[in-house]
Symmetry: C2
C-alpha cells in the first residue's frame, strides 16, 4: 500500500482518557445515590472511497485502525489493494479509506445490491471462501507464555477495570502484550488489531491473539484472515467456531482462567513447559467476567 | 396482521434439545483429554418477500420468532404491516416473511442502495427516529419482583448452565419469567422475544425485560420499540445506552446480581418493598458471568 508504514507502537488501554468514559449518577439497591464510570459508545460512519459502508458503534479511539481492520476483516479490502489515504473527521464522526483503484468489493456490492441490499450476507460468504485457501504457519504456544500473557492482561490498567461493560483484544508475542485494544463491541476490538498489523507491517506468524469474548465462527474467521495461528479466550466456544478452527488448523484455547484452560483445536502447538504448582489462581480484583461459563 | 394470533405459550430453554448443543473433545491444562458441551451456531438467511435481508448466526430454535422480531426491531416491518405468511425451510436454512403489500422498507432499501449498499446504516437512523415518538407506559418495578425474577432466571435449567457461551433474554411479568430465549448473539435472543410478543399479541406495558448482556444503545432502542418500560441486566452500562434511556423514560437497571443492582434511568418506577435481609447472594453454581464488571 501507499500510506507510509511506520514501526509498530506499543498499544495499551488508556483508562485515564476522559473521552472514553463518562461519570453517571444513579441509585442502588439500598436507595442510596451512587456514581459510576461507564464506557462511551458513539457512531462512526465508514466510507470506502465514495461508498458508505457501515455505521459502527465504538468507543472512538483508533478510528483509522478500526476502519482499515474492518474492511480487511470483511474482505472488502484486499491486502494488495493500494490504500492512498485514511481520513478521519472527529466532528462528523466519519472515517474515509481511499484506494488507488476502485476495489473489487465495490463492484460486488453493486451487483449484489440488486438481490440483497445488505453487505453483511455477501461479506460472510466471501469470508468463508477467503479462509479456505489460507495455510497457517507452524508455531508454538508454551503454557508458560499463556500464563504470563493472561496475568499481564488481567493486571494491566484498562477501561475494563475502570468502567466495565467492555471487551478487550490483545495481540501478544510469547508472553508479552504488544497491542491491547478495547471497545464496546468485541468485533471492533479485533478489527483495531487487524488495522494495527496492517499499518505497521507486523508479522502475524509468531503472534498469539487473546480475546475476552467467546470463540465464535466470526472470531475464528478473523483470526485466520489475519494469519495468526493461535487464538486464546477466557470465555467459551461455539460448535461452529471449533469446527472451522479444526478445518484450517487454528489452535483454539478457551476458558483460560487462572490455571485452567481447554484446547479444542490445534493442540499440537501446545508445549507444556510450566509447572502448575507455580501458577496463581486469579485474584478477585482481576477476575474478569468472560462471556462464557466459568467451569 | 393476517397470520393467526395464538395464545402465548410459556417459552423456557430446552437444554436437552440435541440440536442445540454439541459434544466436543479437547485437552485441558494438565494435558488430559476432556469432553465439553458447546452451543451450536448456524446460519439462517432471512428474506422479506423477494428481498434477501441478512444471514444471521443463530442456535436455530424459534426461527419464525427470530425472523419477525429481527424485522420489527430493525424497523423493516411495521406493526401495522399485514404479514401473510412466515415460511421456514430447515434444510435450506432460510426463513421468508411475506407481507400483503411491499413494505416501506423495501422502497427505502432500493433508494438507499444507490449510495450505501448496506441496510445497517439506514436501519440505525430509522431506529432513532422510531423511538423518539414512543411514550412508555407507567409501570412499577417492585424490588421483590426483581429478586424473584433474577433468582428464577439463574436457577432455571438452560443452555447456559449446560454449555455456556450463550446469552439469554427473558420477558417477565412481576417476578415470573414468561418467555426465556437464548442465543449465541444477544441481539437474536431479544429479537425472538419481539417475535413472540408480536405473534401472540402480548401487552408489553406490564412487562419487564431481562438480558444477560450489556445495556447498550442497541438494547435500549429495541426495548423501547417493543413498548416495554423496564430493562434489567446483570451486566453493565454504556454511556449512550443510559443517555437514550433517560431521553425516553425507560427504567434501566444494571449490575443486578444477588442483592445488588444500580438504576441509572427511570428510578421513579422503583418500589423498594423487599427487605435486603431476606435476599440471598448468588450461589457459585448459578453465578452467571455477565458482560460487565462485577462491582
Amino acid at each position: 500500500m501507499k500510506i507510509e508504514k511506520t514501526p509498530a507502537p506499543l498499544i495499551l488501554p488508556n483508562p485515564q482518557d476522559p473521552r472514553l468514559t463518562e461519570r453517571v449518577e444513579g441509585i442502588d439497591q439500598a436507595g442510596a445515590r451512587v456514581e459510576i464510570n461507564v464506557p462511551v459508545e458513539r457512531p462512526l460512519t465508514l466510507y470506502l472511497n465514495a461508498q458508505e459502508i457501515v455505521t459502527m458503534m465504538t468507543i472512538g479511539d483508533y478510528p483509522k485502525y478500526l476502519a482499515l481492520g474492518y474492511l480487511l476483516n470483511q474482505n472488502m479490502l484486499k491486502y494488495d489493494d493500494v490504500v492512498t489515504e485514511v481520513e478521519y473527521d472527529d466532528d462528523l464522526e466519519v472515517v474515509v479509506v481511499r484506494t488507488e483503484h476502485h476495489t473489487d468489493f465495490e463492484q460486488k456490492l453493486k451487483k449484489r445490491t440488486q438481490t440483497s441490499g445488505c453487505a453483511q450476507g455477501t461479506a460472510f460468504g466471501d469470508l468463508m471462501e477467503a479462509i479456505e485457501t489460507i495455510a497457517l504457519p507452524k508455531a508454538e504456544l508454551r503454557t508458560s507464555w499463556l500464563y504470563q500473557m493472561t496475568q499481564a492482561i488481567n493486571t494491566t490498567p484498562s477501561l475494563y477495570l475502570e468502567a466495565g461493560a467492555i471487551h478487550g483484544c490483545v495481540l501478544c508475542r510469547e508472553g508479552a502484550p504488544l497491542c491491547y485494544t478495547e471497545d464496546v463491541g468485541r468485533h471492533n476490538a479485533v478489527d483495531k488489531i487487524a488495522g494495527w498489523i496492517y499499518c505497521h507491517d507486523v508479522d502475524p506468524a509468531d503472534k498469539i491473539l487473546y480475546t475476552t469474548g467467546r470463540l465464535t465462527s466470526e472470531m475464528v474467521i478473523k483470526t485466520v484472515r489475519m494469519g495468526i495461528p493461535i487464538l486464546v479466550s477466557r470465555s467459551g466456544f461455539t460448535a461452529w467456531g471449533v469446527d472451522l478452527a479444526r478445518q484450517v488448523g487454528l489452535t483454539l484455547v478457551g476458558r483460560a482462567r487462572g490455571k485452567r484452560f481447554i484446547a479444542l483445536s490445534g493442540e499440537q502447538r501446545l508445549v507444556y513447559d510450566q509447572s502448575l504448582d507455580y501458577v496463581e489462581e486469579e485474584s478477585a480484583r482481576h477476575r474478569r467476567k468472560g462471556e462464557g461459563r466459568d467451569d
